[in-house]
């Protein structure tokens, strides 16, 4: 509550105060809608990161001020909020809500020539549908996820696989990315199923998959409750083929919500708990907030640091300079495999290194060791 009063107060003063003003960074998140499970932890990571930066003296001698807006996962509200933030003097906008919402915000940031970044969304179309030089995506792309999974499974010589996802917008986008890469690798997709949100069982879909006798099953879904349904049916039907899952499985809630269901599942993650940056981050987070950090916090943490680094490199908050600085930035953050750096290759605006994901496997109910790194 205190933070909100502080933000409100700062916003009110924004027009008046000229000297030594803060650097305003806009954040568009979802507090009540379907994106809340990942938007909320990411925002908390951002707030923690901003605090940390400010304690160390801020950026260019000025403090960072987060202007946080809630778009309720409604894309048209999202676009209006982007304009609001720009009007309020935000020099950068961080988007952690729904992917279509981030997309709709882009029509605004493109027109207003304001830098925008999503440290979290992984839909591949965000940098391809609109040619917006002010937008970057540092979340791990769906295509990166599947390619990392496939690289790990190469030794298994898969010929026929099943694909299953949910009907959320991100689940469909990642499912599409998965299918594309799998087929490109010469593997046949023998079953392609969708479990709708609100379903009470996934057994009919799993029966169809069973009937197709796949060598393995790829889970592209991002809604935890639906994935739990899928795993329940998998156990009920006594299925044995290996499961490879999207980064949703890296969310720690599976350790409690899916007891007995996840043993042996391999999944991609952008978080390596053995990485020294991660260890430092977790210790600091625990100390400062008293809460147990989760990998989702790391996305927000990295996001705000990337923005801070870009502004530092640009030497000012001028939008054009920041844009150029971000495009040429290299930064090692919390997320990603050991030694991974965020960079934006020539002309591209996706910053998460395709080699930067790890594959981990569940051992019992716990997220286990890293078994594979990158695309080799």
């Amino acid at each position: 509550m205190k933070r909100f009063i502080a933000v409100l107060g700062a916003v009110l003063l924004a027009g008046a105060v000229q000297a030594q003003e803060t650097i305003k960074i806009g954040v568009i998140t979802d507090r009540v809608g379907v994106s809340k499970p990942y938007a909320e932890p990411a925002t908390e990571g951002m707030m923690f990161g901003a605090n940390e930066i400010n304690k160390k003296g801020g950026v260019l001698g000025r403090k960072i001020e987060l202007l946080i807006e809630d778009d309720q996962s409604k894309p048209d509200v999202s676009a209006a909020l982007a304009r609001k933030l720009i009007d309020q003097g935000a020099v950068f906008i961080l988007s952690v809500s729904l992917s279509p919402a981030t997309q709709q915000q882009q029509t605004v940031t493109m027109e207003a020539k304001t830098p925008q970044m999503t440290p979290m969304n992984s839909a591949d179309y965000l940098t391809t549908q609109l040619n917006n030089p002010y937008f970057w995506q540092t979340g791990p792309l769906g295509s990166t996820q599947i390619q990392t999974l496939l690289a790990h499974a190469k030794a298994k010589n898969l010929k026929r696989v099943a694909l299953i996802t949910d009907n959320s917008d991100l689940g469909q986008a990642i499912g599409k990315a998965f299918k594309g890469s799998i087929e490109k690798a010469g593997i046949q997709v023998v079953a392609d199923e969708v479990v709708p949100l609100g379903a009470t069982t996934a057994t009919p879909q799993m029966q169809k998959i069973r009937g197709a006798t796949p060598d393995a099953m790829f889970v592209a879904g991002v809604v935890t409750a639906t994935n739990v349904l899928i795993f329940k049916s998998y156990r009920e039907l006594g299925l044995k083929f290996p499961i490879h899952a999207s980064y949703n499985l890296s969310v720690p809630i599976y350790e409690t919500a899916a007891k007995g269901l996840v043993d042996g599942i391999t999944f991609v993650d952008a978080y390596d708990p053995d990485k020294p940056e991660v260890k430092a981050f977790e210790a600091a987070y625990r100390k400062e907030t008293g809460k147990e950090p989760v990998n989702l916090n790391g996305y927000g943490y990295d996001g705000i640091h990337l923005v801070a680094e870009a502004i530092k490199k640009a030497g000012s908050t001028d939008k054009e300079k920041v844009r150029a600085a971000m495009q040429s930035l290299t930064y090692a953050g919390v997320m990603g495999a050991k030694g991974m750096k965020y960079t934006f290759p020539e002309g591209k605006r996706t910053g998460f290194d395709p080699n930067g994901m790890v594959v981990r496997v569940y051992q019992g109910d716990k997220q286990g060791r890293v078994v594979h790194v990158g695309l080799k």
């Binding site: 009907n167 199923e193 069982t201 057994t203 009919p204 029966q207 349904l229 809630i253 007891k259 007995g260």
Partner: protein
């Protein structure tokens, strides 16, 4: 064929859940004419209640279940008291309480959303994880439990309405409110009780389905829509219709996904299409009310 038998028990269990939600609608609709879309959120409250009593505090299952259902009775009664009675006493048009209840839907959902983390919360199975083979049919313990409990509830409700005096009182109110009032029946008590009973029915549905779908803040609206569809398919005239409608809906959904030769993405649309066609062909539902 084996797949069908394997699906059958699970589909029947899903059908029972839909039937319980439909019953929750029915118990309120018959005496008052009010459609309560908040039944899905009632189910969600029970799911979270189950999480608290059974997972977090680890009370024995029957105790937790009884506490949750009692809580839902109170919630149902309170909902009527807060959102419906003032409107009825003002003589507001029938749409007003329906709207107020939609508002309560938002209130319930947001109350849970700000009180719990957004991740799905686990709720334990009644008898743990395990399968039971019964002749050709096989299913999980939970599925059989759901079917057994639902059958017991429906038999109880049917018996109540058909064979007891109190039940006849409810029927009378359902058929003609004014006449019932003239005969000395306490309308507001009947209304309050029917809301409470609706709360229990929805709560039961939520508690029984939660081990599978997990308790989370968005689970209410899909359940409300599925329950409503079940109600319409079965027909609002008879209590058994709610269960029948639930079964038809669940089997249609799952058999379509399993057997229809269309891409899986489109299969989600089939129950909707099915519902639309059904409504246009036989809007009064499968079971007609008794004369």
């Amino acid at each position: 064929m084996q797949d069908f038998l394997e699906l059958a028990v699970g589909a029947a269990a899903s059908g029972c859940i839909y039937g319980l939600i439909a019953l929750a609608y029915l118990l309120v609709l018959r005496p008052t004419g009010i459609i309560n879309f908040a039944v899905g959120e009632w189910a969600m409250l029970a799911a979270f209640g189950g999480f608290l009593t059974l997972t977090r505090y680890e009370w024995p299952y029957p105790v937790g279940m009884a506490v949750v259902l009692l809580f839902l009775f109170v919630v149902g009664w309170a909902t009527e008291r807060v959102a419906v009675r003032p409107l009825v006493e003002k003589g507001a048009p029938i749409l007003a309480p329906i709207l107020a209840l939609l508002g309560m839907l938002v209130v319930f959902r947001e109350s849970i959303s700000v009180s719990f983390p957004p991740d799905p919360m686990p709720v334990p199975y009644a008898f743990g994880i395990g399968r039971l083979e019964w002749g050709l049919l096989g299913g999980t313990y939970q599925s059989f439990f759901i079917i057994a409990v639902t059958l017991a509830v429906f038999i109880g409700v049917w018996y109540f309405f058909e064979r007891t005096v109190a039940g006849k009182v409810f029927q009378a109110v359902a058929i003609h409110r004014r006449a019932a009032a003239l005969m000395g029946i306490n309308l507001s008590r009947v209304t309050a009780l029917s809301f409470g009973a609706g709360g229990v029915a929805a709560g039961l549905g939520g508690l029984l389905v939660a081990p599978n779908v997990s308790a989370h803040y968005l689970m209410g609206v899909p359940l409300a829509i599925q329950g409503f569809s079940a109600l319409v398919i079965g027909g609002v005239g008879r209590v058994e219709g709610a269960l029948l409608g639930g079964m038809v809906l669940a089997f249609a959904e799952q058999l379509t996904v399993r057997y229809a030769p269309i891409p899986s993405g489109y299969a989600q649309g089939v129950p909707l299409l099915f519902l639309m066609i059904f409504l246009l062909v036989r809007p009064s539902g499968l079971l007609k009310a008794k004369a």
